[in-house]
């Protein structure tokens, strides 16, 4: 029951964002940890000769992972405390998403034409600003293809 409620909340959060659907990113939740999956599609290719994933697509993947990870950590608290009701969420009353202030991406290896996975870690979360680290990998968790740090402006909370 609790699990269903949490999964429904995550689904409501993600399905409202057209760009996430366009890139083809899905989210796998285990407790409060989210792994995002960039499902390989031909349109994500940047260099058709290698072929390799487009750097912009992998950067966008990490940015989406960071924003959803950050929103989820806020949502989790509100949902657990009962401040936010699930039926409200599903009816489209979604919390405002954090806004990116700055995002730095390091490209470590070229992205192969297959699925990629990513996790974000909120390193600081304040009332106004938050900082998030993220990392994406493919076949091997210890060989990341990209890593990023981002700073975000938090949405205004009620009250």
């Amino acid at each position: 029951m609790v699990k269903q409620r949490r999964d429904a909340a995550l689904k409501a959060l993600v399905e409202g964002v057209p760009y996430i659907q366009f890139l083809g990113i899905t989210f796998d939740r285990r407790g409060d940890e989210i792994t995002s999956i960039l499902h390989f599609k031909e349109h994500l290719i940047g260099n058709p000769v290698l072929p390799a994933l487009h750097g912009g697509a992998t950067a966008a993947f990490l940015e989406v992972t960071s924003i959803i990870g950050l929103s989820w950590s806020m949502l989790w608290d509100d949902l657990e405390s009962g401040e936010l009701a699930l039926d409200e969420l599903e009816a489209g009353k979604l919390p405002r998403l954090p806004k990116t202030i700055g995002f730095t991406v390091d490209y470590l290896r070229s992205g192969l034409p297959r699925d990629a996975y990513a996790r974000a870690q909120v390193t600081r979360s304040g009332r106004r600003y938050a900082s998030v680290k993220s990392e994406a990998w493919q076949d091997n968790r210890d060989r990341p293809i990209v890593q990023a740090t981002g700073h975000f402006l938090m949405p205004r909370r009620n009250g």
Binding site: H43, G46, P48, V49, H54, G56, I101
Partner: protein
């Protein structure tokens, strides 16, 4: 001029650039200008209908890459090493985003690029970026030798294991 054409065609053939609807306005002499039309599927905030930061990142990355490739000292493909983007304000919904990039310094192995993006209001930038890119210069014998060393070392290691 023909070089510009080639770079232009190369970038327009990139599947992800195509999916974003990216259009090359100008490339040459280490500079590039490209545009991305507003589209439903690029929306990152459903409430304000502002396009996703990630889409602007992809535009900036492509524009910086085009600037590097068009630099006279770059003889071939390039790849992003790092890219930092500052978002100054949300792009106005319904308007295209235009990016301008300049490769302001290049060495035998690294190209340094800066870029900015704006919508219809050119005086108030939407985002700024700085990045470094790999450079594949003229065929370097030193590189090749070291590669040979590695492969022969690999071979001896392997044969030892056998």
């Amino acid at each position: 001029m023909t070089d510009t054409k080639i770079t232009q065609q190369f970038f327009e053939a990139l599947p992800h650039a195509n999916a974003l609807g990216i259009d090359i306005c100008f490339v040459g002499e280490g500079k590039a200008e490209i545009s991305m039309p507003y589209a439903e599927h690029l929306i990152g905030d459903p409430q304000t209908r502002v396009i996703a930061g990630g889409a602007v990142s992809a535009l900036m990355d492509t524009c910086c890459g085009a600037a590097v490739m068009s630099h006279p000292d770059c003889n071939g493909a390039t790849a992003t090493l790092d890219l930092r983007i500052d978002y100054m304000r949300p792009a106005t919904p319904g308007q295209q985003v235009r990016a301008l990039a300049e490769c302001y310094h290049i060495t035998r192995s690294v190209a340094f690029v800066r870029a900015r993006a704006h919508d219809d209001d050119e005086d108030r930038p939407v985002a700024a970026a700085t990045g470094t890119f790999t450079v594949v210069g003229a065929p370097c014998s030193g590189n090749r030798q070291s590669q040979c060393k590695w492969s022969s070392k690999g071979a001896t290691l392997r044969s030892r294991h056998l």
